[in-house]
């Protein structure tokens, strides 16, 4: 039931994920040095400002150029403990690389993500003990959920000498970083390797298959009260809830599946096969919709995104749409689903859609699109139940946990929170950046060095 950190279970080999090739394969030494030497080593660089974790990108790239790869990894990981996976999964096109001065000069921006991955992978392969934890503080911290926010927070807390316990209800840790990343960007094993390294940084215990609940009823559950009682501080990295539903006729039953659920199975479930699926319709216009459609297209399935807004309103990144289209994915805009169509046997045969103008249906314009599979990518619900059961923790009207943005502390002075459950669903790098803010505040609290405590009382 409970596992110590080195015992993260292996994923089985026969999964669809292994069929995908890396879109951005790892650099070899010569490639990395050649790319690093292109960097201008700008001062006050726009790439740093565009990085949510403010990695000193020009410095780490210069270090790659001088052969100081270990130093490059230190520069990256000091700012972002998940620097390796961020190098693979960050939308660099709209972050660091998108800000590179070369863009304005009509030159290829520096391949920052690939260089970052190269530096961390190479340095950790040669010497995993790049950082040493401080002496034990005797303080204990519980982290709820094992997504990127919690993993990064756990690593930093452990390096400060705190005793850390992570509670994860699934058997595989990592959240969407393990189970939600497009397989042509990063595979499950790669995410788990990174997590294993982070958990080795200090005194970290990982409890898998254990759920935090308002009131405990089984050995696989720990109650909120117990958690608050046994630990000096608690970090909530709850992520998001299950895929939202369309709420249209015919949706219930086989052949209709939520997007993140499908990606998770594609990555980790060896039993998943797309037998008899020739055509798929993905409902949604965001990045998850593109990912699913792109992944299905790469498996040879005729995949079409169906979106109710116009082409210019798609919230998915342009570079992802372009990349998906190159691989055969199609996008159909200004259509809204009305019903999932099924035959006499209940098998999905398609989706009835209606044309839209300004996202509003135009009566009498229904048409039927043929499909064997319908994937719903219209967002995820909020994981509100656990958060609410912590006394003092409040949520906004959209179900996001309310925190002080300067500290990421919730209304409960012992509880901090970061990641998707706070920001509503952003990138891995945002979760890491928020986790760092939370850890800085938690550490000050645990060590009794908080600034402005007296002032707060007096005011």
């Amino acid at each position: 039931m409970t596992h110590h950190s080195p015992h993260i279970p292996d994923v089985e080999g026969d999964r669809l994920e292994v069929l995908y090739e890396d879109k951005k394969p790892p650099y070899e030494d010569a490639e990395a040095v050649a790319e690093a030497n292109r960097c201008l080593y700008c001062v006050d660089a726009p790439c740093i400002k565009a990085c949510p974790t403010a990695i000193d990108i020009p410095t780490f790239i210069r270090k790659i150029g001088t052969g100081n790869v270990k130093g490059a990894a230190r520069t990256i990981l000091t700012q972002n403990l998940l620097g390796k996976s961020c190098g693979q999964v960050c939308p660099v096109e709209v972050l660091c690389a998108g800000a590179c001065v070369y863009n304005d000069w009509n030159r290829d921006p520096i391949k920052i993500g690939r260089l970052q991955r190269y530096a961390v992978e190479k340095a950790l392969a040669e010497d995993p003990q790049l950082f040493k934890p401080k002496a034990p503080t005797g303080k204990r911290v519980a982290l709820v959920g094992a997504g990127p926010a919690s993993i990064a927070a756990a690593g930093w807390l452990a390096l400060e000498g705190h005793e850390v316990a992570i509670y994860e209800r699934k058997l595989l840790p990592g959240g969407l970083n393990t189970l939600g990343i497009a397989p042509y960007k990063m595979k499950v094993e790669e995410a788990l390797t990174e997590i294993t390294w982070v958990l080795s940084l200090g005194n970290v215990e990982l409890y898998q298959g254990v759920e935090i609940v308002p009131v405990s009823g089984s050995p696989e559950e720990v109650s909120v009260a117990t958690l608050l009682q046994q630990y000096d501080a608690v970090f909530l990295g709850l992520g998001l809830g299950p895929d939202s539903r369309l709420k249209i006729p015919g949706e219930d039953g086989g052949g209709v599946v939520g997007a993140t659920h499908l990606i998770e199975r594609l990555k980790a479930d060896p039993t998943l096969r797309f037998k008899g699926v020739d055509r798929a319709i993905v409902i949604g216009g965001g990045n998850t919709a593109v990912d699913v459609a792109h992944e299905l297209a790469l498996l040879g399935i005729d995949a079409t995104m169906v979106y109710r807004g116009g082409d210019h309103e798609l919230s998915a990144y342009e570079h992802e749409l372009a990349s998906g289209r190159v691989d055969g994915m199609k996008v159909l805009c200004e259509r809204s689903p009305v019903a999932v169509l099924r035959d006499n046997m209940g098998k999905v045969t398609g989706v009835r859609v209606i044309r839209t103008e300004d996202k509003k249906p135009v009566p009498g314009t229904e048409e039927d699109l043929m499909a064997d599979l319908v994937v719903v990518a219209v967002g995820q619900s909020r994981a509100t139940e656990v958060a609410r059961s912590f006394p003092g923790v409040e949520l906004d009207t959209r179900g996001r946990v309310l925190v002080d943005p300067k500290t990421h502390r919730t209304g409960n002075p012992k509880v901090w929170c970061a990641g998707d459950c706070v920001n509503g669903g952003k990138e891995v790098v945002n979760a890491v950046a928020e986790a760092k803010i939370a850890v800085t505040s938690m550490h000050a609290f645990l060590m009794g060095t908080e600034m402005g405590v007296e002032k707060g009382v007096g005011a």
Binding site: K63, T66, N68, G71
Partner: protein, 463 residues
């Protein structure tokens, strides 16, 4: 973590990285910012009698897309009042007692040397660097590099400095001499405590072809300046090597200067025998921040070699710098082209055909075509292998090295754009381990075809 601290003739420094006397050490504010960034020491911009500077002052040379591979300057010594410099030196030492502040000095008469040395020491200078290297402007007035090129004068002035100073005296040498050993020996004879080299090399950076004026231009004329930057590193290493392998001069600590830009360059100078290294151009290009990589990289390098301090690295390569006559004539390498890495650009082929020994072949030719292309030795089999590497040219073939003919010159490896694609592999030659000097010893120091050899051959036939 290795111990990077050094003791240079009694001057203590937390690490071997010093800023050279130059624009980056012009003011106290700059030196303090440099120390905050991690520099272990600074040699202050040369103090002396008041001068006037020109505008413009610097010239750069690019190579391909690389900016400022070399830099030259026609700036003279400090143009700030001596009192201001001394006040700032005192303030820097007060705030940074554990960092090395060395005053670079350049004056003319014995009295002037006495005064400036004493005033620098009163301000808290940890040591003096006698600027006998500046090759522009000041040398026209009998100072700077003019001193390095006259060993007797150098010895005399350095003796004055040693006499007046209570702190260590370092002599900075100019590379603009025929043999660096002569000024090096003069330093030793003077009783000075250390040597720094190289100062800059006399140079003209280019010509403005529209105005017909050399660069850098001052109005409608220019002058020769001092050349530095990454391009001069090999020249500097050679001159350092000449002194660190010298049986007596090597007893003095040496501060290496010339094109040092990163930790690897620094490690090379230290391995050749330097105690500290001085940096200027790389800082002028990228700022004080580069020292972070230098400290970290050198530290990790020492750790990776199991060395606990700079001491263990210093001079490890000095004795492997030998005369040509001591090299093993029986040693042989040949080029080896990796089939997996070759991208088919054929630059190695062209370099070998026109610049070396015609031993790299392009597959798919008839013997006649190969001979017409310029080969004189045709191997029995030239394997026809298509390139497979990422980025390879479609349809290109991997060139083939005729190992029987390859003389192991390195040229193909040097021109290959893919790092690690061409390696020079050791092969056994049928020759014994023997140097030219061994041959001289046993009376076999003749070259076939020479007059000496012909006489021997003739004697053999007649006898």
């Amino acid at each position: 973590m290795a111990d990077l601290s050094i003791d240079f003739a009694g001057i203590k420094s937390p690490n071997p990285f010093w800023l050279a006397s130059a624009p980056p050490t012009n003011t106290g504010d700059q030196v303090m910012r440099a120390f905050d960034a991690g520099w272990g020491g600074a040699v202050w911009k040369t103090l002396g009698n008041p001068i006037v500077n020109v505008s413009s002052r610097f010239g750069g040379i690019d190579y391909g897309n690389t900016r400022m591979m070399g830099l030259n300057n026609i700036e003279l010594i400090t143009d700030r009042p001596l009192e201001v410099n001394l006040r700032e030196i005192r303030e820097v030492k007060r705030r940074y007692p554990n960092h090395a502040v060395i005053t670079s000095l350049m004056v003319e008469t014995k009295e002037e040397w006495k005064e400036i040395i004493q005033r620098a020491e009163e301000a808290g200078s940890d040591g003096h660097e006698l600027n006998f290297g500046c090759p522009h402007g000041m040398c026209e007035r009998g100072m700077g590099s003019a001193v390095s090129s006259e060993p007797k004068v150098l010895r005399e002035i350095a003796r004055w400095a040693v006499e007046f100073a209570t702190k260590p005296v370092i002599v900075k040498l100019s590379p603009n001499v025929t043999d660096i050993v002569e000024p090096g020996e003069a330093v030793l004879e003077s009783g000075a405590h250390g040597i720094s080299l190289i100062n800059t090399i006399k140079s003209i950076m280019g010509i403005d072809l529209d105005r017909m004026v050399p660069l850098p231009r001052v109005g409608e004329a220019s002058t020769n300046g001092g050349y530095c930057g990454p391009a001069v590193k090999p020249v500097a290493l050679h001159m350092v090597g000449e002194l660190t392998r010298h049986p007596y001069v090597a007893k003095l600590p040496i501060s290496g200067i010339g094109g040092i830009s990163n930790w690897r360059d620094a490690a090379e100078f230290i391995a050749l025998g330097c105690t500290s290294v001085q940096v200027c151009t790389a800082v002028m290009h990228y700022g004080y921040r580069i020292v972070e990589d230098m400290i970290e990289g050198l530290n990790d390098f020492l750790d990776s070699k199991g060395m606990k301090s700079i001491l263990e690295l210093r001079g490890r390569a000095a004795q492997q710098y030998k005369n040509w006559g001591d090299l093993d004539l029986g040693y042989r390498v040949v080029a080896d082209i990796s089939v997996d890495k070759c991208i088919g650009c054929q630059l190695c082929y062209t370099a070998c055909m026109d610049g070396a020994h015609q031993c790299i072949h392009l597959p798919g030719r008839t013997e006649e075509q190969a001979r017409k292309a310029g080969h004189t030795h045709i191997p029995k089999l030239i394997p026809d292998r298509a390139v497979t590497a990422k980025g390879a040219m479609p349809g290109a073939r991997v060139p083939f090295v005729d190992e029987e003919e390859c003389i192991g010159c390195n040229l193909c490896q040097l021109v290959c754009p893919v790092s690690g694609c061409i390696t020079m592999k050791e092969v056994s030659s049928d020759k014994p381990h023997e140097t030219w000097n061994d041959r001289v010893q046993r009376g076999a120091d003749f070259v076939p075809g020479g007059l000496h050899a012909t006489e021997i051959e003739r004697a053999k036939r007649n006898g």
